[in-house]
Amino acid sequence: MTTKTPAGPAGEPTAYELSVAGRQSVALPDPEVPATALPADLLRDDNGLPELSQLDVVRHYLHLSQRNYGIDSGFYPLGSCTMKYNPKLSEQIARWPGFADTHPLQPVETVQGNLRLMFELQAWLQEIGGFAGVSLQPAAGAQGELTALLMMRAYHADRGETARTQILIPDSAHGTNPASTAMAGFSVLEIPSDARGTIDLAALRAACDPTIAGIMLTNPNTLGLFEDQIEQIVALVHGCGGLVYGDGANMNALTGIVRPGDLGIDLMHYNLHKTFATPHGGGGPGSGPVGASAALTAYLPGPVVVDEDGGFRFADPPCSIGRLCSFAGSFGMLLRAYAYIRLHGADGLRQNALHAVLNANYLRAALRGTYPVPFDRINMHEFVCEGRIDGTGVRALDICKRLMDYGFHPPTSYFPLIVREALMIEPTETESKQTLDAFVAALHAIAEEARGDPAALHGAPHRTTVRRLDEVHAARHLVLRDRAAPPAR
């Protein structure tokens, strides 16, 4: 079906709808060189791009930004995403030509500053996580997971243990864990949670056998609970010859609190875009460095940065699983994380974790009387409650949409899968008590509305640039490119 762009504030035309034939916004220089004939048989007629003035472009994207909500707009308590403040100084520094204009294939002697930064960041991440080595290559958390699983595969293969084909994954895990497992050529064996919301040790014990390559463990788990039987879990998996992978998505609760490596974790990825405050960018770029215990550093993806003969250079670990991206990782993100760790130092990182955990517990205590908390005990940086108001038919979805009308970004919803109508709330340490109290007041007000006028909630949001969007319609009537664009030739 065809829909028209509404007039007025509800809609911004697309770049193609704004396009006017012949309009240009950039002047480019003359070639200054004698002309070479273009190979006529290789040319196209029309590259199909829009034609806009520079002012058209600026207004278009300014309007789009006004139809968006970021951490800079307001509270963004998205569970397991660690939406903390992104320091502005780091944004400036990353744009300095001394960093931004460096080419990844320049001779190493011309990029010693970049390499020093990477070398020190490797060492700092090792220290924070308690690992013997770190590779900065992986571009995001999910690629870090894939990296670690391929390292496990190579490690077992070198020991002739090719029967290890299964990865243990708790039922509360992020979806990337099983997806990465499949990409690495393993199969998934799911482990249930127990009544306390942590891993069912008896089920784990029963599953540990010589077919197990390892376990993927998010700690704190996605319920925001620290796996307090972590030492038994590690011992069981190691006992059957498996390796323990820590999903570092929730590391913001642990910096300076405990080092995963000290608990016997063999491999872990860090989400620099969560724990170390690099911006999420509306869905990336991220960065997912991987740390490894002494037994596994030889398998890390290359290159890593080494310090030799008074200079820094790239080197591949001896049994490296290989390369995971075109160059040396998301340097722009590494730089921001480096700046963040340098600003905060050891004490600051611990204070961040302490206050992230305080803020999350404060919210749980304030909300538990209104929204049931199925695993109601001291949590870490996030917690999960049920987004339902008894006797009203109001669901987590309605509560999320109504929160937008109160000026807040909703929490993560319908995850983890083991809690019905889940609302997963992570406030982070950068939010003030005033903001948390305002959020609590909004959620209490919404609960009152649910009892008085549930229809208003079903119709929410009312104050956003668009009303509730029809996702089913999008999937049934696929429109994945702008129909205003002319056919490309």
């Binding site: 809609g11 075109s326 722009g332």
Partner: protein, 436 residues
């Protein structure tokens, strides 16, 4: 706040953490103020050699191109860069519409029917393109035929991605023409993978490749330089099934290799096997147009182990940068950039080729090229590069001997609109001195 939790100290919230490992002393530098950080970072930046952008001829997959100021203007909007993946569309129409327009512009440039919302970089986009082909090609297939003129690092990443499978990468140990490579296609082959223009800058002879692949049920996967598509025929025009590209050249800083942008586009027939985010148009409760993430049933957070990929966080902000770049340059601008690259690189090639003992594109002198070419020198490329840098302040080309030791006299030279005639003349003069 602590009182509401019934504890006295912040530290009391961590009783679940094993006591013997709790609160370790971290050996890290002490925290500092922002005021102190800035000079410290300036010192680090100063440890890098300052390179005049017009005096660099290094490419090999990462390029200096002009980025209009609109790009960074938009990137600095906090509403966009501090947002998460747009799971809540009513608060994310800006990100979503920008991604939808990005998908559209990528479809236009490549002449494909559907583009995802981005991948990490060109190499991972190519690896995922091959995984798509392995999933899409009918029957069980365990081979991927890859041209030796595909970027060596991309081939390395592809091999890493395939470590968990039984798939073999073949063909790239042998420097044959793509037409001859295509004769090795068989029913075990899931994909024929070429780069066009190839790693050495030259256009491949693509006629018949798609037909040859289709005849055995394999897919044609093409890696492109998106800037070339401003002027030259898109992969869709010669039958490609999947297109992958590095998007960095479209207005994104080099930034020492990342974050860059993976472009991945295909035909609508493969949309349900495409990895990554996809934005679709829809309507809201009032019947007005809006945008949402769609076909999430392909993705890890819904399908888990059966997802098309594990990708979650991608390179959305870099895709946004590219969208702003393409909207700003527009139809005429991108064509002009491509023409400048073509004209200036051909001028540079002719001038360098006139030096004694220098040959241009010795492996295939008749194949046209776009913005990069190989200069075969009478001295090792590493020696020449060192002289260019030390005596002339010029960042030379890519030493092909780093990947192919037998070709250590071959320099891959990249010329873009950033290198004016004076800079090219300076390069030619410097090379003439270096090889004398």
């Amino acid at each position: 706040m602590l009182r509401s939790l019934g504890v006295d100290r912040l530290e009391d919230l961590f009783g679940d953490v094993p006591a013997c490992h709790r609160f370790p002393d971290l050996d890290l530098p002490a925290g500092i103020s922002e005021l102190e950080l800035e000079p410290l970072m300036r010192r680090l930046a100063a440890e890098n050699a300052g390179i005049d952008p017009s005096m660099s001829f290094l490419g090999a997959g990462a390029y200096r191109h002009y980025s209009p100021p609109t790009v960074d203007y938009v990137l600095q909007r906090g509403e966009l860069y501090t947002a998460y993946t747009p799971y809540q569309p009513e608060l994310s129409q800006g990100s979503l519409q920008a991604m939808f327009e990005y998908q559209t512009m990528i479809c236009q440039l490549t002449a494909m029917e559907v583009s995802n919302a981005s991948h990490y970089d060109g190499a991972t986009a190519l690896a995922e393109a091959v995984l798509l082909a392995l999933d899409s090609a009918p029957g069980e297939r365990d081979r991927v035929l890859v041209s030796s003129a595909v970027h060596p690092r991309y081939r390395a990443v592809l091999r890493t991605y395939l470590r968990g499978t039984a798939t073999q990468v073949i063909g790239d140990d042998d420097a044959v023409d793509v037409a001859e490579l295509a004769t090795r296609l068989d029913r075990r082959t899931a994909a024929l993978v070429i780069q066009n223009p190839n790693f050495f800058g030259q256009f491949e002879r693509v006629e018949g490749l798609a037909e040859a692949a289709r005849a055995v049920g394999a897919l044609l996967v093409v890696l492109v330089d998106p800037v070339s598509l401003g002027l030259f025929k898109p992969p869709g025009a010669y039958g490609a099934d999947v297109v992958a590209a590095e998007g960095q050249a479209l207005g994104v800083p080099l930034s020492f290799g990342g974050p860059h942008l993976g472009i991945l586009a295909t035909r609508l027939a493969h949309v349900r096997r495409l990895p990554g985010r996809l934005v679709g148009e829809t309507i809201d409760a009032g019947g007005h147009r809006g945008y949402v993430l769609t076909l999430a049933t392909r993705e890890q957070h819904i399908r888990r182990a059966k997802a098309t990929s594990n990708i979650c966080t991608n390179a959305a902000l870099v895709a946004l940068a590219t969208a702003v770049y393409l909207a700003t340059l527009g139809k005429t601008g991108l064509r002009r950039v491509a023409e400048l690259c073509f004209q200036r690189s051909h001028y540079a090639a002719a001038a360098l080729g006139g030096l004694p003992g220098v040959a241009i594109n010795p492996q295939a002198p008749d194949k046209p090229f776009f913005k990069e070419f190989v200069a075969a020198l009478p001295k090792p490329a590493a020696v020449v590069n060192a002289i260019l840098r030390r005596d002339f302040g010029i960042l030379g080309g890519y030493d092909i001997g780093r990947d192919l030791p037998e070709r250590d006299h071959h320099l891959l030279v990249a010329v873009t609109e950033m290198n004016n005639r004076a800079a090219i003349d300076a390069l030619v003069h410097a090379v003439s001195r270096a090889i004398a």
